[in-house]
Each structure stands twice: as C-alpha cells, then as structure tokens.
Point group: C2
Chain length 459, copies 2
C-alpha cells in the first residue's frame, strides 16, 4: 500500500502523518514543488518582521522529523499529470527529468495560488523590480532580498485582508512607511464595518497610511523606484504614490489544474469538489486543503481556505485513504488576526452571508470589559452577535479587543456553540469561567447574547 | 405583584434585576443583612492586595444604580422567619425592630457561610485577636483593620482552595510573609495533583511557605502574637508557627436556616433542594445561589457554590417568579483562579468524580505551547483531558498556564463542549481560531484530545 500526497503544506502533510499514525506499515510519500515541506505559511509575516529570526524556524516539523515519522519526501518535484488508469503521477524532479510515481491512494493537496488583480504592470514587473506577491517561502525570500538589497523606506500594500494587515505590521516593524490600499470601504472586510474601523484606527495609530475605497490601476517602474496609481472608487480621487516596494495580497484561488486535468469536478468558485470524506469521485483520489471546497456547518459547500481547515481535511483524507470512513465535520469559518496590539476574530456568518443561506439574521453590537473594571487593566472588547430571528440560533460572533482580552480564545466558545447548533439564548446558559482579574460573571459573549435577546424581542 | 428577594449578593440581585427587566411594572424588593448590596465577594482578595483602591469599587452596581433599575433595597435587615400562610417575612431592621414584609413571590438567596473547621481556639479568638474568617465585606474590613492596626509581618492561611490562594497572593503583595497550610496533600485540591504541584511551585517561587498534608489543631494567643500548631497528616511532624494574622478559609456551607425553618427540604449536603426551575416546593418560594443544590450537567444534583451559577440561577428564579417556565440549564463546574502569574482552570469532572456518576473515565496529560514556538513569547500550557472510555464523551478538562496563555478562556471551549455533550474526538472537529502569535493550527485542547484518543485506543 502506497499513499502519495501531492503538496507539502498543511493538507498533504496532515494526510501523510495521519496515515502513518494509523498504520505504521503503510508507505507514504509527499511530493512537493519546492524545498520547504510543512512550513507555516501563516508565519511568513513574522519572519519578515524579524520576530522569527531564522526562516528554518517556520517549519512545523523539520525534514528529518518528518522522515523519522516514516514519510518520504520528494522535494522540488512538480506533479504534471495524474494517470488514473495506471495509478501513477507523472512528475518533473529537481533534475528536470520526468518520472512516474505510482500510488495506491492519492491525496491531492495542491493548495492555492495568489490572486492577481487586474493591475497594469503586475504581469510585467516582478521581485527584481520590488513588486511582490506573497504565498510561498520562495516569495518570502524574494521580499527579504528586496528589503536587504534596496533602501526600502516605503511600501504600498495592495489588499487589507489578513495577510495584508500582518504585512503592514511586519514592514512597519522594519521601519518601512506603509500605505495600505483596499478597494472596499474598510480594512479587514471580513468583519462588519464598525469593527473594521477599529482595525483601521489601530493601523493609523501605528503610522500606516490607510486608503480604503481605493483601486489600484497600475504599477510603473521609474528609475530605481515604483509608482503606484489608482483612484478612489467613490469620488474618483487620484491615488498616486512613489514607493520602493509593492506587495499585492488580494486573496488566493485554488490550484486545481492537476486534478481538473485528471477529470475532477470543479465548483463554481473553481475549487475541487469533494464529499465530506474528501473523495474527489475519481478512483482512489482524495483531495484536501486550499484546493478543495469547504463544507461549512451553516452554509454547506463553500470555499474558505484556512490552515486549520486544511489540517482537519488532510487528517480525514489520510484516514479514509487507508479505508476509514471519517467525515470532515465542517468549518464554522473561524478566523483571527493580530494587528499591532489589537486582535480581531470572527466565527460563523454575518448578515449578508446568512441571508442567502436562508436565515433571517439580526446582528447587534455590544461592548464589555474583558474583566471586572475594579481590577487594574480592564479593557474594552467590542462584540457583535448574529442570530437567526426565526429560530433563535446563533449564527455568528465577531470580537475585537487588545491582545490581553483574549478575544482569540473567546471566539472559540462561539465557534463551539455554532458547531453544536446552540441558540443565542443558550450562550448565556454556558458555564464559562470567571475570576475578577480575567473575566466577569457574564462573559463578553454572554453580554452580547443578552443584548441580542433584548433586540430580537423588539424585532 | 411584589417580588421579595432575601439576600443581596449574586442570586438575590440577579433575580430582582431580571424580574424588573421582564416586567418594569412589578414591585421588587431585596432584603439584605448587611449594607453592601451587589458586592463582588470574589473581588475581596484584590481589595486586600491593594489592586482595588476603594472598597466601593467592589460593587457590581452602586446602590443608586440598583434603585434606578426599580429595585427597592432593605439593607441591614435580617430575615428571621418566613410565614408561608401569611405570605410575609418577619425581619429585624437596622433599628432592631421586628417588621413584616409581605410578598407575592419570594426568592431565598441567603448564600453560604464560611465553614469552621474543628480548630481549638477558633471559636474563642476573633478579628480583635487577628484571627479571621472571610466571606463578607464586613469580614474584609476586619482584616484591613488588623493589617492597618497591627504590625503584620507574617500570616498563616488555613486552606489552599481558590480564596486561600488568592489571599496568599494578596497578603504577599502587601509584604506579609505567608504560610499556606492545607490538610490535603496538595494546594488547589480541586485539580489533579500534577497540576496542583505547579500551583504550589508558583506559590513557593513568590515566597509563600507551602505546608500541604498539614492539619491545624489549634490557635493560641501569646501576648500580641498568635501561635498556630498542628501536625502533618502523614508523618505526624509538628507544625508550630508564631504569626500575626490567621486566616481560615476552608470552604463554605449553605446558609439554609431560614428556608429550612419554613419547611424547605435540604439535601444530604445541607443545601436547599430546588428543581431546575428554582422552585423550593414551598408555595410561591424560589431559591437560588450558594444556599441551594446545583444541577450539574454530568452529575445531576450536587452542591457547587459559584458566583457564575448564582447569577444564572437567580436569573431563572426571577423569570419564573413572574410566571415564566425557564429551567436552569446546569453547571459544568467551570472554575478558574489566578495565582500570581499562573492561571489554573477546570471544567467538568475528574476521575474520582466521574466514577461514582457511572462513567468509565480516563484522564491523560499533555503539554502544548499557547502559540507557535517560532513566534516570541510562547509558553507551555499543561492540559489534562478526561473522557469516558465507554462512550468517548468528554467529561473534563483542566488547564494550567501563565496569564497570557489564556487558559481562562480556553477552558470555556471545553465547558461548551461538555455542555453540549461532545465526545473527546469532536474537540478536534471544532473550528478554533489560529494565528501564529496567539495559537496553533491545533489548539491546546485539541492536542490534549488527540493524546486522549491515542491513549484510549490502547486502553
């Protein structure tokens, strides 16, 4: 029995390790296109900021660690084609020569690639010019090269999602003046505008220039510098800035060519369709991670690429490839980001996501101290609770607060409540911890839930 | 309609405020034996430590705030007798005169009183001698008087539960050398010994003398000082210490005389028996808080006095007193304590609690970093997961870690999982938040759950 996983990140490695854990007798190989198996992509901003002092530290596990767990690694090997009949993958190795790698079960975990927004010059300019995308360790080295070789005093970041915000902090930490440009009217558009505004304030208070409702049209090289130009989407005001480095981080799209060529079905969003057992429908071929659709507890099938989900899906794929019958339990879309001293977290749905899913949502805002105000250091947490007015079901929670307020773990309670189908009212039934230096008799989430109940009663 | 609550702490105040919230037309009175309505008993150690600079700050709400919400307060009024037929309470007011207070619905929330272990001298000596119990704001003033009036350089704390530990920190913060004495073999006996040991280390590293397996037999006054003597329970080694202040914090027992005299049934542990609607069985009389039995999600009826539970029970009693039909959803026994820089939290059951409840428990220990080790400041969290080997159900979680590791909110996820009946394996299905500075792709709880699954497979 030979299990082959294509992709050296969370999905592929999790499948491989889980298979070895279940059956130490099975042959397991992971084939990856670069030299960096099991690296933490999410950690890249912290390498660039200098918080992580050696790029090797970004490996969840080192190569010898992985091999010691019985997983063979084929690095710098690009999978070109899956031969379903022949049960093998045609790949190009580091020497450029084509080879065949047989499998009994295959896990496709090819991940995602950065989206390339329609910006004039983005196709022409590249790392050598100081124009960067960011998704791989290779991309990271390119950025570090630019930072090391040029006198980078300013940067324009196109995109204000999770990676964009983390990179704004990282470059600021390196003394670079950052302009953050987002075509939507707020930074962190995955949160409601009132909470996105708090994150925007945090950026500005650390010297980041925030340019929302601004679309970049083009990037040009002028001598040793770059000029980024665009306009605001509402008033058509000109955006025009000379800079040393441009980073385009505008989301990702699933990398599906290999599976699609082999006959896998793609979703409307372009991700590989899998069932909850991570089966592609192609014989003996599973898929997991950022290249596949995501089963969401409240939405059904969607596309929501996240490392945590890739780990879980990979684990399921690895088990099922060995004959188990596990189902991926589903995502609730839990996400968190640290932006300087602030943390923003969400789980579940916001109104505009809940309505098309057939819910009748109501979202309320509340604020509460993270712990009793009489104990020193209490800080405000902003919470938004979304519930279904028809059934009372908890649909979503969004929280923003400074790091010590632990919103990153408070959101987990809401994630568990959504996962198990609790109502908003039942949040107040949960027996959550309390001690004055760290909490209140009613947790922040419960304060939000009680605000929601009052609003829903009047609805 | 007149709702009368007896007791000015969490249970009584919650019942009163909830009734007014539901029906702003209802007359609501809270009768309390002292002058401090709605004070945070849990905050007392932080007043003594000096973290809270004014005792008035310990009020969850001020007297005017409560009255503005439409709740009448009868302070310094001791309820002596309930006349069920006459629907009134006989009470002694601040002037010492007996009065009758009528009610349509009554909520008994008389709370608990400190346990008095059989220590020779404890009945004879009191605050004037520097010997203290600690449960009320009045007790707190007594301790502050002793600290202010005497030259207190050392203290003996009898008991190493939550309050005992917090008081060890508080007195240490005031420059007092503390000897903490516990008759059981570990401090914080509500956690497994391996975790209690970590808390013991934390105490010692801050200069607290830790004397476990030590039973105090007597306290004597010698001139201006006190002598505390006893012996170890295992080797019968003598404990003999001169000190300036003795604090006995050895748990509480329910204060039930009023209700029992009126005919309420008491449990084996001596708490007022109520159903999940907080009805005592006596006509129109409800009860809530530290004086009643606790419905526990896994244990059924038990006694587990906690402020969070009192808030929830009071809220249910207040609703039902107005004719609603709410049930108290149940406690999972979630508790947390900060001891210097360490936080210890638990929810659910430990082995010796689970076995008599009919479970077949297995507990495993694991450690995990609170966030990715490559990001600066990662710290170890110790976790213990208890599950039922027969059904796989999650029964309990215990966590110990430094304050920034957020174990106080990580335990809440386990509390939600226990509340909703998840299995240990389903902990790994939960979509918990991850960003490298604040977490890992698998949360600490999930690392513990996966350790449990491996151990259970071999069990």
């Amino acid at each position: 029995m030979h299990l082959l996983a294509i992709g050296g990140s969370d999905g592929g490695i999790s499948a491989a390790l889980r298979a070895r854990e279940i059956d130490p007798g099975v042959d397991v190989t992971v084939m990856l296109a670069d030299s960096y198996p099991n690296f933490s992509i999410c950690g890249i901003p912290y390498l660039i900021s200098g918080d992580v002092t050696d790029w090797r530290h970004l490996a969840h596990r080192s190569r010898p660690d992985i091999e010691a767990l019985g997983v063979q690694l084929m690095t710098d090997t690009v999978a070109r084609r899956i031969d379903i009949e022949g049960h093998h993958v045609v790949a190009t190795g580091p020497d450029g020569r084509e080879q065949r790698v047989g499998y009994d079960r295959l896990v496709v975990a090819t991940g995602a690639v950065p989206a390339r927004p329609p910006i004039d010059g983005l196709g022409r300019l590249g790392p050598a010019d100081g124009v960067h995308l960011l998704h791989t360790i290779g991309d990271t080295f390119d950025i570090l090269d630019t930072l090391g070789e040029r006198d980078v005093t300013s940067a324009v970041i196109v995109g204000a999602g999770y990676i964009g915000l983390e990179m704004a902090e990282a470059l600021t930490a390196r003394g670079v003046t950052v302009a953050q440009v987002e075509q939507l009217p707020q930074v962190l558009p995955t949160l409601d505008p009132a909470l996105g505004a708090l994150v925007g304030d945090e950026l500005r208070s650390h010297g980041v220039g925030v340019h929302t409702s601004t679309r970049i049209a083009g990037i040009e090289r002028k001598d040793d510098r770059l000029v980024v130009h665009g306009a605001t989407t509402d008033t058509n005001e000109v955006f025009d800035q000379a800079t040393d480095l441009v980073l385009v981080v505008a989301g990702v799209k699933p990398d599906t060519a290999l599976a699609a060529d082999a006959g896998a079905t793609l979703s409307a969003a372009g991700a590989i369709v899998v069932d909850r057992h991570m089966r592609t429908g192609l014989p003996d071929i599973y898929a997991a991670g950022d290249c596949v659709i995501t089963h969401h507890v409240l939405l059904g099938d969607t596309y929501l690429p996240l490392g945590t989900t890739a780990h879980k899906q990979g684990r399921v794929a690895g088990e099922n490839a060995l004959g188990a019958n596990r189902a991926f339990a589903g995502s609730t879309g839990t996400q968190v980001v640290k932006v300087f001293d602030l943390v923003a977290a969400r789980t579940g749905l916001r109104d505009h996501e809940a309505i098309p899913a057939g819910f009748d949502p109501l979202t309320v805002a509340a604020t509460a101290d993270d712990h009793k105000a009489y104990y020193p250091g209490a800080q405000t947490v902003h919470v938004r609770i979304t519930g279904d007015t028809r059934t009372g079901r908890l649909l979503g929670a969004q929280l923003v607060g400074p790091i010590p307020t632990a919103v990153h773990k408070r959101v987990d309670t809401a994630a568990a409540a959504i996962f198990t189908g609790l109502s908003v009212a039942q949040l107040s039934d949960l027996d959550l911890s309390y001690t004055p230096p760290l909490g209140s008799p009613w947790d922040v989430l419960q304060a939000g839930a009680q605000t929601w109940e009052r609003a829903a009663a009047l609805h």
